[in-house]
């Protein structure tokens, strides 16, 4: 089971929101779509969900155009939170489940399971409008996958959640993955993307800058992040050959290298045959790569 986007373009008169986008998501995979505000993520989601038409290109699910498939195989958590404010939590989940073709008997077991898993037992008879923002989000999240979709899109699922609830959500996403659900998601928090995604697509103004595995993306940059603990000043460090950038982080100094191979000469220079407290060479984090790729001011995925 795969989702395939081939040469997908969306234009609004003179503005191109998505330009020639190509990627494939395999069954049971978690795929991240990353980009700043206005990069074309939500437009891409809406085209996949057949809420918007493509200007050109094709989107298919298991080889079938998405506009001809049964909508019940899809699940979607929109970026903006939206549930019926005056409907009770339980009613809401039954309503969305039934709307996706499930009967009440089937739903009962799943609703009980997810309500318990997301610690909403005491809230099940409450109206949605009386819940906290985080709890509303949990209800909407359950509503988006209560019908066990084969393919689930989560647009900013972590926003507004506290660390405890974030972990609950991460566990739920991994459980859905284990059950065979294919997941496409976007998130503002790069650490979540790094933690969950197998593959990703980096969008900038509708154009894909990178599509592939996270490791491949990191390998493109090589191990160019050098953390050192030394008595050298930042000016001295910046003057070393191959050093692109220097910044002080807590009790260490982080150097960004032009190429990985400069690390050896820097090590020789810094140690000069003597003991140094820290010298650690790593891949850049996704957050750092993102900032570098999109030249970002706002880090948003």
């Amino acid at each position: 089971m795969t989702l395939q986007l081939q040469h997908v373009t969306k234009k609004y008169k003179d503005f191109t929101a998505v330009d020639n986008l190509n990627f494939t998501i395999e069954k049971g995979e978690i795929f991240g779509l990353i980009g700043q505000n206005g990069a074309g993520k939500t437009t891409t989601f809406r085209m996949i969900l057949d809420l918007q038409e493509t200007t050109s290109g094709t989107i298919s699910w298991n080889g079938q155009p998405v506009n001809s498939i049964n909508r019940d195989v899809l699940g979607y958590l929109p970026e903006e939170r939206g549930i019926f404010p005056t409907m009770k939590v339980e009613e809401q989940l039954y309503f969305f489940g039934e709307l996706r073709g499930m009967n009440k008997a089937e739903l009962k077991k799943d609703i009980d399971f997810w309500i318990s898993r997301f610690e909403l037992e005491e809230k099940r008879k409450d109206k949605a409008e009386t819940l906290s923002k985080g709890n509303q989000q949990k209800v909407q999240l359950i509503a988006s996958f209560i019908h066990k979709p084969q393919f689930l899109i989560l647009d900013e699922p972590f926003s507004g959640l506290d660390p405890v609830n974030k972990d609950l959500l991460k566990d739920a996403i991994l459980l859905l993955k284990d059950q065979g659900t294919t997941i496409l998601f976007s998130s503002h928090q790069m650490d979540n993307v790094e933690e969950l995604c197998d593959h990703l697509c980096l969008l900038k103004r509708g154009v894909s800058l990178f599509t592939g595995s996270l490791l491949d993306l990191k390998k493109q940059y090589g191990k160019t992040k050098l953390s050192v603990r030394t008595n050298w000043s930042t000016t001295q460090l910046l003057a070393l050959e191959g050093v692109k950038d220097v910044r002080v982080e807590k009790e260490q100094t982080v150097l960004t290298l032009e190429e990985e191979h400069f690390a050896q000469s820097i090590f020789d220079e810094l140690s000069n045959g003597k003991y140094i407290e820290k010298f650690s060479l790593d891949y850049l984090t996704l957050d750092e790569i993102f900032k570098d790729k999109v030249g970002g001011n706002v880090v948003e995925v």
Binding site: Y12, K13, R46, L49, L51, Q52, R71, D72, L74, G75, Y76, P78, E80, R81, G82, I83, F84, P85, T86, M87, F95, F96, E98, L99, R100, Q140, A143, S144
Partner: protein
């Protein structure tokens, strides 16, 4: 249950239990109750009031005592007392008015003296009685025999209508026209109130789903066309429910209150109506509500949040109001050119055409033509709204209605 039925049921049940629907239904029932029990309510407030004393000072030789007969509101006293004494009594508010009747050049002249102005109704009653007394007095002056006098006073012109237009021949009797007028008036009011309630309901319902972003969750599950149709069907069902409640309460009142007088009265009116009129009235009522619901759904999809619903509703409400006033103007004369024009405009024909059908001698083709225009407008509005709805329901923009339409067209074409 199909997705259409689920959406329709969800809307229907949530609105049926909503405070606004219950309150609105209660207001309609209360309004109807007040109308039916008006005389009793009036009695409650005025029942204990004593009838106003009106002194009649007749300075002519004619006997007018048979004309001024006391009733619950006014007690006429034939008083021969000195006028100055009576005037003092008026000032002291012991009596409400003095009607001084005298002869002036062979004509009856009356002067009404009051300290506190009389109520409009009482003033009108006294004026009518004085007019009649004037005729009576004039007849008495002619020295006619009692039979001749009685013949003149009872003179009545018999009027029959003959319609030379073959298209509208077989014209209605006055009774039929009167019945048609009253029923059309009721249909017009019903359409006006139902449109005001349910147009606003469907617009705010869709605007609220759009504003709360529940719309995106819904439209992943159902096609916009299904959502659009389910909303219209749900609100229509709700309108039928409200109509049924109001009709049910009316029938109960009619049958069991005041010994079934209203039932008999309604029966008499219905007897005067033709089957075709009833069918036309029902069709115009339903089709007009459907047309406004389609437009309301489209309006709801245009706004970004529920607070903006009033802004887009305004034009439709204005058109409804114009139709309502045109219909009201027809109570005096249902055959004016304005009424004729508005009886063909789809958004107002539902309120105006039933009046023309019921209260004028209209040809067969004209109502059919108006109905045809209405049906055609509904089809065009439905197809257009459906196409536009798919594009507008997930488009969020600021600005006025025109700006919103421009934005939808810009981002979806």
């Amino acid at each position: 249950m199909s997705k259409f039925n689920l959406l329709m049921k969800q809307l229907y049940m949530s609105k049926l239990k909503s405070k606004s629907f219950i309150l609105m239904t209660l207001i309609y029932v209360a309004g109807m109750s007040v109308a039916i029990f008006w005389s009793d309510i009036k009695e409650l407030f005025t029942g204990n009031d004593e009838a106003q004393q009106i002194a009649i000072v007749n300075e002519t030789s004619a006997d007018l005592s048979g004309i001024f007969i006391s009733n619950a509101d006014m007690a006429f006293i034939q008083d021969e007392t000195n006028l100055q004494v009576l005037e003092q009594k008026v000032k002291d508010e012991e009596i409400a008015a003095i009607v001084e009747i005298s002869d002036k050049d062979g004509q009856l002249h009356a002067e009404i003296s009051t300290f506190t102005p009389l109520k409009l109704n009482d003033q009108s009653t006294i004026s009518s009685l004085l007019q009649y007394a004037g005729q009576h007095y004039a007849v008495q002056q002619l020295s006619l025999s009692p039979e001749q006098a009685a013949q003149i006073m009872a003179a009545n012109t018999t009027i029959t209508n003959k319609n030379l237009n073959e298209e509208t021949s077989g014209g209605k009797s006055e009774e039929e026209k009167q019945s048609g007028l009253w029923v059309s008036y009721a249909v017009g009011i019903l359409i006006y109130f139902f449109i005001s309630t349910f147009l606003s309901m469907i617009t705010t319902e869709i605007a609220s789903e759009k504003g709360s972003r529940a719309m995106e969750m819904l439209l992943v599950s159902v096609k916009p066309a299904t959502h659009f149709k389910a909303k219209i069907a749900g609100v229509l069902l709700l309108a039928f429910t409200q109509m049924a409640i109001i009709a049910g309460v009316f029938l109960l009142y009619a049958k069991f209150v005041k010994g079934g007088v209203i039932w008999d009265m309604a029966g008499d009116i219905v007897k005067e109506l033709s089957v075709s009129y009833v069918l036309y009235a029902i069709l115009f009522l339903l089709l007009t509500i459907i047309l406004y619901l389609i437009v309301g759904a489209l309006f709801g999809s245009l706004v970004s949040k529920v607070e903006e619903a009033g802004q887009v509703l305004m034009p439709a409400m204005m058109i409804t109001l114009i139709g309502f006033y045109v219909m009201l103007s027809g109570i005096g004369n249902p055959d004016t050119i304005v009424i004729k024009i508005f009886s063909y405009i789809p958004f107002t024909s539902g309120m105006v055409m039933p009046m023309r059908i019921g209260a004028t001698d209209i040809g067969v083709m004209q109502p059919l033509f108006s109905l045809g225009i209405l049906v055609l407008t509904i089809i065009v509005a439905y197809l257009f709204s459906l196409s536009f709805y798919k594009r507008s329901v997930l488009t969020y923009s600021t600005g006025g209605v025109i700006q919103k339409i421009k934005t939808v067209l810009k981002v979806t074409t």
